[in-house]
Symmetry: C2
Subunit: 240 residues, 2 copies
């Protein structure tokens, strides 16, 4: 990337790590990431439609109390595009990636969010909200319960993200492992990088710099290049 980027992204693998409380383990990362002038976060709850947007807003609002930021959900606004244009920071929560992307398209929010974040407004996502930041949703783990207009996502980074990365295979189960699924993706899409981020880790972008955060290693997949391990807290700006 030759242009200077203004982007500030915190892309979390998951809202929990092991037995932690909801968003508990990510609060220190969020607090460092968010500029002190950000007092209010515009929250996009679409992925959690099954629990209801009011309930999701309340849950995130409560979880973020320790870092003293107000959380307001986009479903409270009459004009969601305007809500994005006026946001101090944007956060997209986890849930179903397909439902989320369909709602972003149906509410004409894809271009609005991309433009806003490219201009420097901080963006945080976890799980489905991190998938959104990749080129497409082709490496989500979620069930395709609805069909979005396109698989193209926000493309805030020029690669694919696989959140909740794990290579655990249930005993006596014959579905594909995560690594096998991603391998198939790379075979069908030869020039794309996929970054697998285990629960407890995150990608942080500050302009033209990209880091893996958290205490676990991540993985990078690409067709013909095998699987590369990336160390916790390493600089992986070459991916941009």
């Amino acid at each position: 990337m030759s242009q200077t980027s203004q982007q500030k992204l915190l892309l979390l693998s998951a809202s929990r790590e092991g037995q932690t409380d909801y968003l508990e383990h990510v609060l220190p990362m969020m607090d460092v990431f968010l500029p002190s002038e950000v007092k209010e976060i515009l929250f996009i709850p679409y992925a959690g439609f099954a629990m209801g947007y009011d309930a999701y807003e309340a849950k995130v609002s409560q979880a973020l109390q320790p870092i003293k930021r107000k959380v307001v959900s986009i479903h409270q606004f009459d004009d969601p595009v305007k809500a994005v244009e006026n946001a101090q920071a944007i956060a997209i929560g986890g849930g179903n990636t397909f439902y989320l992307l369909k709602q972003l398209y149906d509410n004409e929010l894809i271009d609005a969010i991309r433009k806003k974040v490219n201009a420097g407004t901080p963006y945080m996502g976890w799980s489905a909200g991190s998938n959104m930041a990749g080129l497409t949703i082709c490496t989500t783990n979620d069930m395709p319960i609805v069909q979005p207009r396109s698989f193209n996502a926000l493309a805030l980074v020029p690669f694919q993200i696989n959140p909740h990365y794990t290579d655990y295979q249930p005993p006596n189960h014959n579905g594909e492992t995560r690594a096998e699924r991603i391998y198939e993706y790379t075979r069908a899409n030869p020039h794309r990088y996929v970054v697998g981020i285990p629960e407890g880790t995150a990608l942080e972008r500050q302009g033209n710099q990209l880091f893996l955060r958290g205490a676990k290693d991540g993985l990078i997949f690409r067709d013909g290049e095998g699987i590369k391990s990336i160390k916790a807290d390493s600089n992986i700006s070459w991916l941009l």
Copy 2:
């Protein structure tokens, strides 16, 4: 369903159950299912693109030797639509559901297979090949590595299928369970039934009759109706 159906379907959850060899546990079911006049099976290998169509054809061919049916893959024919029209029986193997459906659309095979099977040609599928027989691929477990033209599948049965059904959750992992994923599907698609078939089981349709085969129970999900268990070998023709 008021019309008389000619359909013969065997929709297997998986190619393996526990530690069995490839397709080993399904051979007795296939042998009973296939009419004796069927000597050759047209095999559709698209879901297994990552292993290569020749290798996939050879693997299935070898696995079906004990039941004395010849297996010929559709990629050996110049005209795949004509190959379907001339088939004695059709089998679609497992792999990636999205890649499979995209290839069926790109090769104009959706209507051809539907017409042929509705006229009485036996259809067998396992894993992704069973997903194909449902209304849509919205309850696949696979990664959406490519985008098919539509999520609409062959609609050989008027409900959704979830193969490899399990409610196992890896220890300390925070992704959704299978039941949670299907629950979200039913919330987003309130009038649809989803049938979860565990590895080792199958759905068998003979005209207007539908049975669960195998030694394990299946599950039926629908919005507002909770989860119903269906006993092994029970008649579930009310779903048609």
